[in-house]
């Protein structure tokens, strides 16, 4: 009886741990696309940087000029961004979170520097570029008729 109870507890714990593990890898492994935007905001309300060095999560800095937009892929939700204005020499360091269910977000560098919130917004692409389509051709093995036009030089 005792072992039965113990086993029930151990097994229940493991099931919970299993589900938790899925959740953990889901959260920590989730990738998000981050667009980094260095354009003026609201028609000049906040000006773009002329030359700025941006580093995310301690990665190597990337240089942006005015009107630059770049894309990077981030894993996980909480990230740290360091912006260094090469002209004024000011350095801003901020931490931001990407919501779990967002696939693609845009980060406005000028907003980061000016301290305006939110500087990270959801990004909705207008039209997905058309990709080369392959048809969902399945392999039915012996059931499919062979096609005589499959003449490929071996």
């Amino acid at each position: 009886m005792n072992t039965k109870k113990k086993r029930l507890i151990v097994r229940a714990t493991l099931v919970v741990a299993y589900v938790l593990a899925i959740a953990v890898v889901f959260v920590t492994g989730k990738e998000h696309t981050l667009l980094i935007d260095n354009m003026e905001v609201d028609e000049g309300r906040i000006a773009a940087f002329e030359e700025v060095l941006v580093s995310i999560d301690g990665r190597e800095s990337v240089e942006y000029y005015a009107d630059d937009r770049d894309m990077t892929v981030l894993k996980g939700q909480t990230h740290r961004i360091v912006i260094e204005d090469e002209i004024s020499g000011t350095k801003v360091e901020r931490e931001f979170k990407i919501p779990l269910d967002e696939d693609m977000v845009i980060l406005y560098l000028p907003k980061v520097a000016s301290g305006e919130e939110p500087y990270v917004e959801r990004f909705v692409p207008l039209e997905l570029e058309s990709m080369p389509e392959d048809d969902g051709e399945i392999d039915t093995g012996f059931l499919s008729d062979p096609s005589p036009d499959a003449e490929v030089v071996p």
């Binding site: 012996f142 059931l143 005589p148 071996p154």
Partner: protein
């Protein structure tokens, strides 16, 4: 009469389901804009085209060698015969007959060797047959490149080496059986009388073979090898003979298939062909160790009917191309069902 009753009793629910499924497809066809006459002609054509492969399963089933998963060996022999016939420049009915004649010695030789192997591995025939078949197909792939055929229709014009993957039979014996006494039902539906007659002939020959002294002995070997041995019948010889006959039928089968299809396919084409024949005869109600002509006819018809009707009807009904998947699940499900059924032979 009693044999029909017996057959119905042995019919089993999978076949009844498939039968009614097929029936409902035929009934439903016109509602989805599928022409019945075309469908029927198509089914009949495929029936004649594939029937001999299914028939080739019978001798080995009867002699207790199980399902011939190594039918590709016979197909290879048929391909060799076809190539030799083309190489020799034979055309028309002569080309077809020549192909059969030239395939025969290869079929006998391959069947004999293959039978010897299967006699060594009693009890494990099916798995081994499958891999012997696979290996010989791949071996012949190499041979198709190396062998010194030089008829311009069969070799790559330039840039390639060896034989083409598909060779047109247009100028040789394309549809030589199909067009023999063909009947035009409606403008677009033709009954391939010749092909059906040829299939019937093969069935008749097999039927009468099983009624000869040797055929009787073969069935007895499959039914109870110990009984056969105690009655002075050499089980190994009967088994080998059954493998040779099956292999030869495989060779004839591919030639009939090709003439109807119009192309000769080399390389990996024969790899999967045995599975379709296995599925068909099992759908027809044969078990791993008992098969009859009725099983062949019913099985070929149901299986080919399924192959023809599901894409046209299901796809237009469901507006998807789900038919392939349905076919895949149904026919493989039948094979599994047959393999997991308890052997009918009681000991």
């Amino acid at each position: 009469m009693s044999s029909i009753k017996q057959y119905l009793a042995d019919f089993g629910w999978p076949r009844i389901i498939i039968f009614f499924f097929l029936l409902s497809l035929f009934v439903a066809a016109p509602f989805f804009g599928v022409r019945l006459d075309n469908s029927l002609a198509d089914v009949l054509n495929r029936f004649g085209q594939n029937g001999i492969f299914v028939l080739a399963m019978v001798p080995m089933i009867q002699s207790g060698c199980g399902l011939n998963f190594g039918l590709s060996l016979g197909i290879i022999a048929g391909l060799i015969g076809a190539l030799l016939s083309i190489q020799a420049g034979l055309v028309g009915a002569l080309g077809f007959a020549g192909a059969i004649a030239m395939a025969a010695p290869f079929a006998v030789l391959f069947g004999w060797a293959y039978g010897r192997i299967l006699n060594k591995v009693k009890g494990e025939e099916m798995t081994i047959a499958m891999y012997v078949g696979f290996a010989s197909v791949m071996f012949m792939c190499i041979m198709w490149i190396i062998l010194p055929f030089d008829s311009p229709t069969m070799i790559w014009g330039y840039g390639g080496k060896g034989l083409r993957t598909t060779i047109s039979l247009e100028s040789f014996y394309k549809r030589v059986l199909n067009d023999f006494l063909a009947i035009r039902m409606t403008p677009s539906a033709i009954i391939p009388t010749g092909e059906l007659l040829f299939f019937s002939l093969c069935i008749y020959l097999m039927w009468s073979f099983l009624r000869t002294k040797t055929g009787t002995a073969m069935t007895a070997v499959g039914s109870n090898p110990d009984f056969a041995r105690a009655s002075g019948v050499s089980t190994d010889r009967m088994r080998t003979l059954s493998v040779i006959i099956s292999t030869f039928l495989g060779a004839v089968g591919i030639l009939v298939y090709q003439q109807s299809y119009g192309f000769l396919q080399l390389y990996t084409a024969p790899l999967q062909m045995p599975f379709a024949a296995v599925a068909a005869i099992l759908i027809g109600g044969a078990s791993v160790n008992k098969g009859s002509m009725l099983n062949v006819v019913v099985g070929t018809f149901l299986f080919q009917g399924l192959l023809t009707m599901t894409p046209s009807v299901i796809n237009s009904a469901l507006q998807t191309d789900m038919s392939e998947v349905i076919r895949l699940i149904v026919s493989n499900g039948i094979i599994i069902y047959a393999l997991t059924r308890k052997l009918k032979v009681t000991k």
